[in-house]
Amino acid sequence: MRLEATNRLKGLIKGYYDELFAVAEEGRPSAWLNVGMPCEIFYAMDIFPFYPENYGAACGAMKLTPKLSAVAEARGFSADLCSYVRATLGSVFSGEGPYGALPHPTIQVDSMNSCTMIMIWWRAVEREWGVPTFLLDTPLVRETSDGINLVYVETEVRRMVAWAEEKTGRSLDLDRLRQVVALSNEGKALWAEVLDLRRAHPCPITAADIFTHMFPMVALRGTPQYVEHLRALRDEVKQRVDDGFAAVPGERYRLLWDNLPPWFDLRLFDDLAARGANFVIDTYTQAWGPRYMGPVDLEHPLRSFAAYMGAGFLNVQIGKRYALLAELVDAYDVDGVVFHSDRSCKPFSLVEVELRRLLQKRKGIPGLILEGDHNDPNLFDRERGMGQLESFLELLDAREQVPG
């Protein structure tokens, strides 16, 4: 059963895009950011933040990726590139997309805490539209950003703020930032609660429910409507838990989803629900959870942003990824892990084979490597994938029957 909160999302998204176009029309500044950049800083500066990856997901959900990708490929961008890049660049080059031609931003800022290729993607837009672009350095770390690394990333954050001030004429007022951050912290705490409520038996929501709610987590952090929405979501999910509501009736398999979802095919999760399988937790939404994006320190907000950017979900390495998996498997009582091997996203995917091995060896939890893509339906063989998932569930059945 669909969440009430999901029904309200539509209005939230529409409001956001209306604002995007209004901002451009009125000549107010806007910024394109990658998801590793905190929108709070930009809301505080009155620079409207826009996330191309989020937009790419919208293109995917509306099944526009193949068409837009063809535009980018015709310009010489390889079909092997991340499908977010292909979809978004296709939209930039053609002026087409789910909301029509996108307005040009005033500036672009990207940080290095996701993938390496992202900076050249941003430069492609810079070259096409002539938008001033800033690259914020967050050197890849093993587990945490501290010592000289933290000092460096904080210097980078400050350098970026000074640059954005110069390019847009807006300045960052720290008191205003603290207000935005307070709202952001409040919303993130509610998000953490929602993620935690998924531990219930039976689990109150499905993976599709939570993935659908990534939009406000990515793009609206620090706004009043964000807190309002998250509170409604938390209340609703909590009520479900109190009522003993099962998102998947007769919940039989409690699974963990690793990696981004296939945005073009969230129905996959419904199809598995019919078999009694629910993804009670995933790693993707954890990137915005308390383990990676805890509350920002109101006293030293920029340092605090630097700390979480420097050790963002994709900016740390296998040790931390494994520790998270192991922790989630225990906390959510997980029977098995589906590692979505996302052809697009190397930093997310290229550790999965090893993670599967480690999880099996150390915790006896089986894993399935499911080949696919988060945004390009042509890279997901659904029939084959469903077959693999079926066999995986059978394997879990067989394990259950083995005594001991």
Partner: protein
């Protein structure tokens, strides 16, 4: 203990020395792993492998340890496929495969940086499976133009150095660091001169041999390498590229000699390069002063690979190679699944087009097998370049007669 690093003396060249030197360099490049084993045996030193051109080998040498850039070996990578997906780039899969098969068991350690997302995946497996007794990671900047990045990298290199000293029981010696820098500078300066002479047609050395020289550079002791290269340059074996058409080879890592030979068999002459293991590396000269600062600055400001802060500098460097060598065109070798190069390619292509320089895109897997299609495309490219040259000549003559 007296170090074997950085103590070499340049010997005066003698007749035949050039041919012998070339043979030596070819032998090293034909099996760099075997050469490393020999050097280890001879010197009794430990060895640490690295994978990309932003890692200063001086950092390793300063510990009295042999730096070794792990080259691809052109073999299949079935072992790696048990540990990493097929969309990791073939070059990265290949080095992982070598480690899993035990081909790199002479390495006492391995040092990674943030180069690309494929190598990052390889690091994860390497680290988790402890494929060498010591594995470490340099938290490398991507921004290259700020003093903050230089300061940070200088400190980070020192932190890695302290860890390496502890893990290998090989303390750092600042004097040796300076020696390693000087030896590296000498080798790179000579390589740059070698490339200049080839580009100026003062030296006729096929591209496949020039590649062998580059592989030898990242395998041998710096001064031994310098000595061999100096001997080769002083007495170059007679050789003519004949009517082969000169082109610049652009890409990232390119270390498969058979592949280079295949390219040249189509009538092209690889006269210069824009490679991360070639001209984008040997143009580095580490300056004086504090050695850590000097190293950080030199490596951050070298002609950039597409994995660093994007700028026009990569294209500028490529164009400079074309200009200096008078190459008729560019062969852009795109490693499959190398995403930064995939995004860079349309810009390089457009920039070359704007300058009227023909370019052909060859996508590949760092193997020389099954290259029929590649051969056909390169032959067609050569014919295209020859036709263009004839038109140019024709125009030149017409102009002259009027």
């Amino acid at each position: 203990m007296r170090s074997s690093l950085g103590d070499g003396v340049l010997a005066a060249p003698s007749a035949e020395a050039g041919a012998r030197a070339l043979e030596r360099l070819r032998r090293v490049a034909a099996d760099p792993r075997a050469e490393l084993r020999r050097i280890k045996e001879r010197t009794g030193l430990m060895a640490v492998g690295y994978f990309d051109t932003y890692l200063p080998p001086e950092l390793i040498a300063a510990h009295g340890v042999l730096p070794f850039r792990v080259p691809t070996n052109g073999h299949d990578d079935t072992r790696a496929m048990e540990y990493i997906q097929g969309f990791a780039c073939p070059a990265s899969r290949n080095v992982l495969d070598q480690a899993l098969r035990g081909d790199l068991d002479m390495l006492d350690g391995a040092l990674f940086t943030r180069y690309c997302d494929s190598l990052r995946g390889v690091f994860a497996v390497w680290d988790s499976e402890k494929l060498t007794p010591y594995v470490d990671f340099v938290r490398y900047p991507t921004v290259t133009h700020t003093q903050a990045a230089v300061d940070y990298l200088a400190e980070e290199l020192q932190e890695v150095s302290w860890r390496m000293a502890g893990a290998l029981g090989a303390p750092i010696d600042e004097h040796r660091l300076r020696e390693a820098i000087d030896a590296g500078n000498r080798a790179r300066a000579l390589l740059a001169e070698f490339a200049r002479q080839r580009a100026a047609r003062e030296l006729a050395v096929p591209g496949a041999d020039a590649l062998a020289v580059l592989i030898a550079f990242t395998t041998m002791l710096p001064d031994e390498f310098t000595q061999a290269l100096a001997a080769l340059m002083a007495q170059p074996p007679a050789g003519e590229p004949g009517d082969a058409v000169p082109v610049v080879l652009s890409g990232v890592t390119f270390d498969n000699i058979d592949l280079a030979r295949t390219f040249e068999d189509t009538g092209l002459y690889l006269i210069a390069d824009d490679l991360s293991t070639g001209s984008r590396l040997y143009t580095v000269q580490v300056g004086d002063g504090d050695p850590w600062q000097a190293l950080a600055r030199a490596y951050l400001t070298k002609p950039p690979c597409s994995v660093k802060e994007p700028s026009a500098a990569r294209a500028d460097h490529l164009l400079a190679q074309v200009g200096a060598s008078g190459a008729a065109g560019v062969v852009f070798y795109l490693t499959r699944f190398c995403d930064t190069e995939q995004v860079e390619w349309p810009f390089l292509r457009d920039r070359l087009a704007a300058e009227g320089i023909p370019v052909v895109l060859i996508e590949g897997e760092h193997r020389a097998a099954g290259l029929e299609q590649v051969r056909t495309r390169l032959e067609a490219f050569r014919e295209q370049l020859e036709a263009l040259a004839e038109v140019d000549d024709g125009e030149g003559q017409d102009g002259g007669s009027e």
